[in-house]
Every structure is written in C-alpha cells, then in structure tokens.
Symmetry: C2
Subunit: 344 residues, 2 copies
C-alpha cells in the first residue's frame, strides 16, 4: 500500500515544509534530497500521497502541503529523537539555573515555562498539580487580625497555598490549633477534590451541626482547599507571533483567545494527565478535541512525583512545527520536573 519510498518522499516534504512554509514542488524535492528519481516520478508519488490523504495541494499546480494525517505519519515514523547536543545543553542549563528555586514550586514552574518557550520558540505551558491530584498533607491555621484567620495548606506535591478567611466571629488560637489537629488527622493523604466532595456531603447532611468546632473546621477547610488560582503557566506568545503563520490576524485571535481563556489549554493538558500515558504525546491539528485549537499542534508529557503523575507540560505551535525538537524538549522538561519534585 504505502511503500518505503513513498514514505521517504512524504517525510522530505514535511521536513521541507517545516523548514519554510511554502508548498513543496517535485523539482525542489529532487534537487534538495538525493532521491535518484526524476521530478516526474516524484510527481506520480505525490499524486498518490494526495489521494491517500497525506498531502494536499492549495490549488492546481502549486506544490504540496502536508495534511494532519501526513504530519501524523511523519511523527510516528520519527525514530524518537536522540536528543541533540543542543537540547542536552538546554536541560543542563535548566537544572543549573533553577536548582536554587526548587523549593518555591510555583516559581519553578513559571521559570521552567519561560525557558521552555524561549528555547523551543513555541508557546509552552506547564500544568501544575491541581485539586484533582494534589494530596492533602497538612494544614496550619493562624490567627490574623480580628475575625480573620490565615490557612496554610501543604500538599504532598510541595505546593503551599495560603488563604485569608473571615470567620465572622472571634476565635482563639487554641481553638484553631484544635481544628487544625482535627483536620490533619481527618484528611491526611486524601486528594483535595475528594476532600471538597466529602465536606460538601457532610455539610449537607448535618444541617443542624452538632459540634460547633467541627462545623467551623469544615467551613475553614472548604475554603482552604479551594484553589482559586490559576494552576497553569503559559509563556511564549511573542515567540509564536514571529512565525509566518501568524501574519494572519484570525490565527492570532484564535491563539490569544486560547491563552486568555487558559481553560482550553488546561483542558487539553488535563485530559492527557487523565489518560495516564507516560510517554510524550503528540496531538496534531484536528486530532485535538478542542475546536479552537484545531489549527495547532500540541506536544506534551506528564511529570510525576515519585510514581504518581501530578501534572503535565507541553509545547503548542502550528501544525507545521518542529516535532522532532519539540518532542525531545518536552520529554526532557518532564523528566526535569519529575526529578525536581521527587528529590525533595
């Protein structure tokens, strides 16, 4: 059906197109790649590839452009990149420069995202552990001023989140300590979503709460485990704006909506996390479930704390992206994050 030779031609076209976004003609292929074939033969092959859906021509008698299906074949036949020295250097630098902030996990994610985008020249995103995976480790409660208290929630992943809560009435530090003790024994090891669910249920059941302290405890904990903050870091918008595909205003609007909504990208990275697949995943154009992103590709992987997948990291770019490089960098970054999280 699809011979080795055909595949080679396809890959040549994809590579050339990734290099510069002009439709690729039969002549160019014979010149630039050493097939010992004439343009006419290449043309025949190309015609077959079009028919099979791997290529398309923008119009009669322009060259060919890869389709999503074409990119897919290309990516699948990629002998999963031996990380080039360039990329090795990237991780090395990453490790060196970020060693000092590995305690501040949010900052670590942010910086990693920035470096990943500036090095890959694509949009990059890191999904930090969210309520769905984050695991309650301990909580501390501190009296602040008046009726206000501060909750300090620690998760197993190393996240530390503080929130200020107005209780509406005075409470002693002693009572707070008792509440914290209760919560710590009650919720240790559960993930935050479970906790939230459980609190909801208990609050609903015992409408007339017997124990005032417990009711307060639940209320406090409910607030404390709410993650109101963005748990995604995105960077590199100005990088992708440089790409020629973004001379089209509509494209720009698409991607900026995705960035401002964040939601969309979270959704993508999240679904990846749920799939549990450990290796680098590639979503090409229309393979993407989010309609706003059907023009783009995403290369992503999950990172772990110990053996538990806790977040994901990805690169987003046009379907015409340097998959080989992207896959390699995402892989390395995920490994880096896993290492950072695990060795603490």
């Amino acid at each position: 059906m699809l011979e080795e030779r055909d595949k080679k031609v396809l890959c040549a076209i994809v590579q050339s197109y990734i290099n510069r976004p002009d439709p690729v003609g039969s002549g160019f292929i014979t010149k630039s790649y050493s097939f010992s074939l004439s343009p006419a033969t290449i043309r025949n092959i190309m015609a077959d590839l079009v028919e099979m859906g791997f290529l398309r021509q923008p119009h009669t008698s322009a060259g060919r452009v890869p389709t999503d299906k074409g990119y897919r074949l290309y990516v699948d036949s990629l002998c999963s990149g031996e990380s080039e020295p360039d990329n090795r250097k990237f991780v090395h630098d990453l490790a060196g420069e970020l060693e000092s902030i590995k305690n501040d996990i949010d900052l670590l994610f942010e910086e990693t995202t920035k470096r990943l985008s500036s090095f890959s020249h694509y949009l990059s995103a890191v999904l930090s552990p969210n309520a769905g995976v984050a695991t309650f480790n301990k909580i501390k409660l501190l009296k602040h001023s008046g009726n206000q208290i501060v909750t300090l929630l620690f998760t197993d992943e190393g996240l530390v989140k503080n929130r200020t809560i107005d209780l509406g009435s005075e409470i002693s530090q002693r009572d707070l300590n008792r509440i914290a003790l209760y919560l710590n024994s009650e919720f240790y090891g559960f993930n935050l979503d479970e906790i939230r669910l459980r609190i909801m249920r208990e609050m609903a059941e015992e409408k007339i709460v017997c124990d005032r302290l417990i009711s307060r405890a639940l209320r406090i904990c409910k607030e404390a485990v709410a993650f109101p903050y963005d748990n995604i870091f995105i960077s590199g918008f100005s990088e992708v704006l440089r790409l020629p595909e973004f001379s089209d205003v509509e494209r720009i609007k698409d991607i900026s909506r995705a960035i401002e909504d964040k939601h969309l990208i979270v959704k993508l990275l999240d679904s990846l996390l749920e799939s549990g697949n450990t290796s680098v995943q590639v979503l090409i154009g229309s393979e993407n479930s989010v309609s706003e992103m059907k023009q783009f590709s995403m290369v992503a992987a999950i990172y772990k704390k110990g053996d538990k997948p806790v977040g994901s990291v990805g690169i987003i770019g046009p379907t015409r992206m340097d998959y080989s490089k992207a896959i390699c960098m995402v892989d390395l970054t995920a490994l880096f994050l896993s290492r950072m999280l695990s060795e603490r």
Copy 2:
C-alpha cells in the same frame, strides 16, 4: 487663537472618530452635528486645526483624523464625566459580587481586573502593592520538613505571601519563633524595599557574623521579602483584539509584547504611583514614555489604603478610545479598591 467654535469642531471630529475609525469629512460634520455652518466653513476651520497640529489628513482629500494633541485638547475640555447610570451599575455590581472575596486580596485584584476589561472593552491592568510600597506587618516562620521552613509574610496592605526556604541545616521551631520575634520587632512598619536594602547592608558589613541566629534571621527575611511573583494583573486582550485598529498585525504584536513583558505596563503604572497624583491621569499616545506603547493610550488612577497610595489601576486602549467612559470607570474602580482595602 483657538476659538470656542474651533474647539467644538475639533470635539465633534474626535467624537465621530472615536465612534468609528474613518477619517471625518466636512460634510459629515455639518450633517451629524448641528453647526449652522456650511461644509466650506468647516473646511476652513479644519484647515486651521491641521495647521495647529490638532488634526492631520491621511492624504490630500481624505477627511481629518485627530492627532495626539487633538485628543489631548478633547480630553482636557471634557467636563469630567458625570458617571452615567451604566457606569454606576458597574461599580454596584463590582461591589456586590466581590464583597465575598475581599479577604483574598490577590483574587480581588484579579477579578476586578477581569470585570474592568470586560465592561470597558479595553485592556485593563491593576498594579498590586509591590515591594516599594508594601509595609512589613509581621512574619511567621514554620518548620516544614527536613531543612525546609515556610515563611509567611503579612503586609499592612493585607497581602499574605508564603515562601518555602531550604536552610541547608536543621532548625528547631523554637529557634524559628525567636527569629520571628526578632524580625517582627526589628522591621515592623518598614517597607519591604527598605528592609531589603538594610539587610543587604548589614550582611555586607558583618561578613564575619557574630550572632548565628541573627545571621540566619537576616537570610530568612531576605528571602521572605523577595516578591518573585507578578504583582500586576492584566486582562482583556481578547477585548482589544475586537477593535478595528487591531486588524493590523504589527499593532497586535506591539500590544502582545507589552502584555507578555508586563514589565512595560508595570513601569507605566508605577511611574504614576510615584508621581503621587491622586486624580485620574490620561496618557495619550506619544505622551507615553514607553516607546512600545506610543500607539496606545492609558487612563489610570491610584488607589489607596487609608491615606497612603499603594497601587494603581488603568485602562489601556488605542489612542482612539472612549476617554470619557474610560476616565469614569477607572475613577470608580480606584475608589472601589481604596474602599475595599481600607475597610478591613
């Protein structure tokens, strides 16, 4: 020099142009606004206004377009907008919906920014109190795990920031308490920049530190007062993309760079804060000191905690923006934030 009548014509042109971005012709003015003058007279006036630099014509025999100087005159002659019912509603909603999160100051800023942009249809930004103005209130130190401790810094403005620090060696909670006590007595009421400076100095002076506890205290405090987080909230990129001026790709790139750099916008809002000017300020196009922003206008105001200016809020849009509305909304938002911060 500049007669009342000329001013009226200028304002009419500005208004019309703000309404839709087409060069305004003499005929349109006479039709839409009730000057009892013929197009020819209007033309004469317009020619004068061009000569004085308030208008320009894109080319011979197109209509006129306001220059920055023209907008300036327009803004200055604006009888500072009696807040329309529309805007009143905005603040009312704002107050109602955000009442519940006034304890979580970061969230408050973020939500305020979002609402401001979605209501004004321009880009909005809120600069939250930064190290330069934030005042040390108290610090709490908690043992975390191993050599790690968590610092919890409270500022007078209501910010609560936590950081995780790896001390490199074990420390007891008791020592941490002593350190916190020391820092609290030492730095209470100082602003964070001062503290940072002082610590730097002291660390440099006593290279051979006599007191091990104090040296540790300083080190901890130095980390704790570092504000690594963005202290600016920006929202509404997709709003401004809707504007016709952003069908030009270059413009989009400009504004996105400004947004991704944040820095630029921080700089603008910061300079405003330093000027100390209390009322709403308008920077039109080239009046703007940041070159990347010379195509845009900013309407901004500071907000206070009590009597002390602590941050600023602004709207950024094309020079062709609805200044009247923007001024009003920024004013109201600043008042709102001041109220929220002060009544705690």
